[in-house]
C-alpha cells in the first residue's frame, strides 16, 4: 500500500468530545503542528519542528478529531500534481499510474483511499479543488478571510486559504464549520462583515465575533440537496479549452441538476483569459518575498559559515529548494525588479480587479457559477513535469476564484476512462452555504 500520501505519520489526539470525535484527519504538511515536523514538501524544512500549532490545528483538536499524519504536497504548494515534493510523488488511489493532483495531493489521496476520514489542504490557485477533482472527493476553497491562515507556511498570502477535503459534501462542510471563524492572530479573517457580507469597522477586542460570517453559519446543514429554483451560471469561456470527456461529464451533471429543479444560464467572463497570467505573476511575486525568510539561520537547511552571508544564504537555498520553487522565486523576483514592475505586477493587479468585477456582474444573473474543476483528466505520473507552462495552464478554471477571493467547491461528477472528473461550483463572497447546497444535489 504505498500511495505515499503522508510525509510523516504521527497520531495527534484531540479532545474526547466534540463534533469531530472519532474522525481521523490528514493535515497538509504546510500547516504547523506543534512538536510534529512540518516540511512543506521541501528538503529545506526536512527537520523543522514548529513550536506552535496553526489555529486550524487547535480547532481540530478542540473538536475532538484525531490527526493521523502530515500529508504529502508539492513543494511549498507549488505544483498541481504533488510531483514536486522532495519526498516523492503521491499516487492517485483511483488509478495508481496517475497523479492525484496538487498541491494538496496527499490530503486528497488519503481521503479517497480511506487512510483518513477528512483532510485539510490549502488552496492558493486550486490546490484543494484540483486534487479533490482528480481523486474523486470533495474539496472546498473558502472565501478569503473565512478561515485563519495563522500557522500556514506562506506561499502567496493574498490568494491562499486553508480548506477541507472529504468524501461527502456534508462532511467537508462540517469540517469547514469547525475551522472557520475569526482569529486575532490573522487580521485578514473578517471581523468586520456579518453573514450578510457587508459591514464596516473592525474591533478584535472581544464582542466582535458576531461580525464574522462564520458565526451564524451552519455549512453542514446547508447540504440538504435542495436546488429547486437555484440559478446556475455556466461559465462558457472555461469550456472551450477543456477535454471533451470532461465536458461530457460536466454537461451530464448539469442535466441532473436541471432535473432537480435548477435553472441554468450561460455567463461569459471576458477577463478570465488573462487570469492564469495574472495569477502566476502575483503568486510568484508574493512567493519571492515570502520565501526570502528561508536563509538557513533561524530554521531550515543551513548554508554553513564559509564566505559572507550572501554566499551562505545562496548556498542554503540552492540545496534546500527544488526546481519549481527556484523557478517561481526567480520569476517573481524578475516581475518585481526595477523596470518590470509596471509591466508585470501592476498589470496583473489590474487583471485581478477586472476578474473580480466580472464575477460581480455574473452574480447579478446567477446564484452560483459552474465550470469543470479541471479542464483535463489526471495526467499520468511523470507525464507533465518537463513543461512548466503547460502545467500552469491546467489551472485555468481554478485561479480566477482565488484572484476574486471567492468560495468554490469541487464535487465528483463521475468518471471518464476510469478517471475522476470534478464539477466546480463558485459562490459569491461568503456564499459557502449556496455552493454546499448545490454541490450536495450533485450527490443525489
Amino acid at each position: 500500500m504505498s500511495l505515499n500520501a503522508f510525509i510523516t505519520r504521527e497520531t495527534i489526539d484531540g479532545d474526547d468530545d466534540g463534533p469531530l470525535a472519532g474522525k481521523t484527519v490528514a493535515v497538509k504538511d504546510n500547516i504547523s503542528t506543534e512538536g510534529v515536523r512540518t516540511t512543506c514538501g521541501s528538503a529545506m524544512l526536512e527537520s523543522y519542528v514548529p513550536p506552535y500549532d496553526a489555529t486550524v490545528v487547535e480547532r481540530l483538536k478542540d473538536a475532538g478529531a484525531t490527526i493521523v499524519g502530515k500529508a504529502n504536497m508539492d513543494e511549498f504548494g507549488m505544483g498541481g500534481t504533488t510531483e514536486t515534493s522532495a519526498y516523492g510523488a503521491t499516487k492517485n488511489p483511483v488509478d495508481q499510474g496517475h497523479v492525484p493532483g496538487g498541491s494538496s495531493g496527499g490530503s486528497a489521496a488519503a481521503v479517497a483511499a480511506d487512510e483518513a476520514d477528512l483532510a485539510l489542504g490549502s488552496d492558493t490557485g486550486g490546490s484543494v479543488r484540483n486534487p479533490a477533482a482528480f481523486c474523486g472527493v470533495v474539496g472546498i476553497k473558502p472565501t478569503y478571510g473565512l478561515v485563519s491562515r495563522y500557522g500556514l507556511v506562506a506561499y502567496a498570502n493574498s490568494l491562499e486559504q486553508i480548506g477541507p477535503i472529504a468524501r461527502t459534501v456534508e462532511d467537508a462542510a462540517a469540517l469547514l464549520d469547525v475551522i472557520s471563524g475569526p482569529d486575532p492572530r490573522d487580521s485578514t479573517t473578517r471581523f468586520d462583515v456579518g453573514s450578510d457580507g457587508d459591514g464596516n469597522g473592525a474591533d478584535t477586542d472581544g464582542g466582535s465575533e458576531s461580525a464574522h460570517p462564520a458565526t451564524d453559519s451552519n455549512y453542514a446543514a446547508a447540504a440538504d440537496g435542495d436546488v429547486d429554483g437555484t440559478t446556475i451560471g455556466v461559465v462558457t469561456d472555461l469550456l472551450d479549452g477543456a477535454d471533451e470527456r470532461v465536458v461530457e461529464r460536466f454537461e451530464a451533471s448539469l442535466d441532473d441538476l436541471r432535473a432537480q429543479g435548477a435553472e441554468t444560464v450561460e455567463v461569459s467572463l471576458e477577463s478570465v483569459e488573462h487570469a492564469v497570467q495574472a495569477y502566476y505573476v502575483i503568486a510568484m511575486s508574493e512567493a519571492s518575498s515570502n520565501l526570502a525568510r528561508f536563509d538557513g539561520v533561524r530554521y531550515g537547511k543551513s548554508g554553513g559559515y564559509e564566505g559572507n552571508w550572501n554566499d551562505a544564504f545562496a548556498r542554503a537555498r540552492e540545496e534546500g529548494f527544488g526546481e519549481e520553487v527556484k523557478r517561481r522565486i526567480l520569476l517573481g523576483t524578475f516581475a518585481l525588479s526595477a523596470g518590470y514592475h509596471e509591466k508585470y505586477y501592476k498589470k496583473a493587479q489590474d487583471a485581478r480587479a477586472w476578474v473580480k468585477r466580472d464575477f460581480d456582474d455574473a452574480f447579478e444573473q446567477a446564484d452560483v457559477l459552474a465550470t469543470p474543476t479541471m479542464p483535463v483528466l489526471p495526467p499520468a505520473l511523470g507525464e507533465s513535469l518537463d513543461d512548466p507552462l503547460q502545467l500552469y495552464l491546467m489551472d485555468a478554471n481554478t485561479v480566477p476564484v482565488n484572484l476574486a477571493n471567492l468560495p468554490a467547491i469541487s464535487v465528483p461528477a463521475g468518471e471518464a476512462d476510469g478517471l475522476p472528473v470534478g464539477l466546480q461550483l463558485i459562490g459569491p463572497k461568503f456564499g459557502e452555504e449556496a455552493i454546499v447546497r448545490t454541490a450536495s444535489a450533485v450527490e443525489n
Binding site: 527537520s47 523543522y48 519542528v49 513550536p51 506552535y52 478571510g145 486575532p184 485578514t188 471581523f191 468586520d192 469597522g201 473592525a202 474591533d203 478584535t204 477586542d205 488573462h274 497570467q277 495574472a278 505573476v281 519571492s288 526570502a292 536563509d295 539561520v297 533561524r298 530554521y299 548554508g303 554553513g304 559559515y305 564566505g307 559572507n308 552571508w309 550572501n310 554566499d311 551562505a312 544564504f313 545562496a314 548556498r315 537555498r317 540552492e318 526546481e323 527556484k326 523557478r327 522565486i329 526567480l330 520569476l331 523576483t333 524578475f334 516581475a335 525588479s337 518590470y340 498589470k347 493587479q349 489590474d350 487583471a351 480587479a353 477586472w354 473580480k356 468585477r357 507552462l389 477571493n405
Partner: protein, 92 residues
C-alpha cells in the same frame, strides 16, 4: 518575438538578487523556460486599467504584552546558536 528576451546573464542576475545559487544546467533550462513563460505573460499588456477597491479594512487591537514563544523554543530550529542568539554567517 517576445519584448523581453531573456539570456543566461539575466537569469544569473535575478538568481543573485534572489540569493539562490544555480548550476550551469539550471541556468540553461531556466533561460529557455523563462523566455516562454514571460512571452505568455506579455498578454497582460491587453488588460485595461481597472480601478480596485481594497477589500480589507485595518484591524486594530490594544498594544498589550501577551504570552509568546520562550527563547528556547524560538531558537529550537536553528542550526547554531550562541549565548541565546541565532548564529549567522559573517556580514562582510
Amino acid at each position: 518575438m517576445s519584448e523581453t528576451p531573456v539570456d543566461a546573464e539575466d537569469v544569473e542576475h535575478v538568481a543573485e538578487l534572489a540569493r539562490v545559487d544555480l548550476d550551469d544546467e539550471e541556468v540553461d533550462a531556466f533561460t529557455a523556460q523563462f523566455a516562454e513563460i514571460l512571452e505568455y505573460f506579455e498578454a497582460l499588456d491587453e488588460v485595461p486599467e481597472v480601478e480596485s477597491e481594497a477589500d480589507l479594512v485595518n484591524v486594530m487591537r490594544t498594544d498589550e504584552v501577551t504570552e509568546s514563544l520562550s527563547q528556547e523554543d524560538a531558537l529550537g530550529n536553528a542550526a547554531e546558536t550562541e549565548d541565546g542568539y541565532f548564529k549567522g554567517p559573517r556580514v562582510s
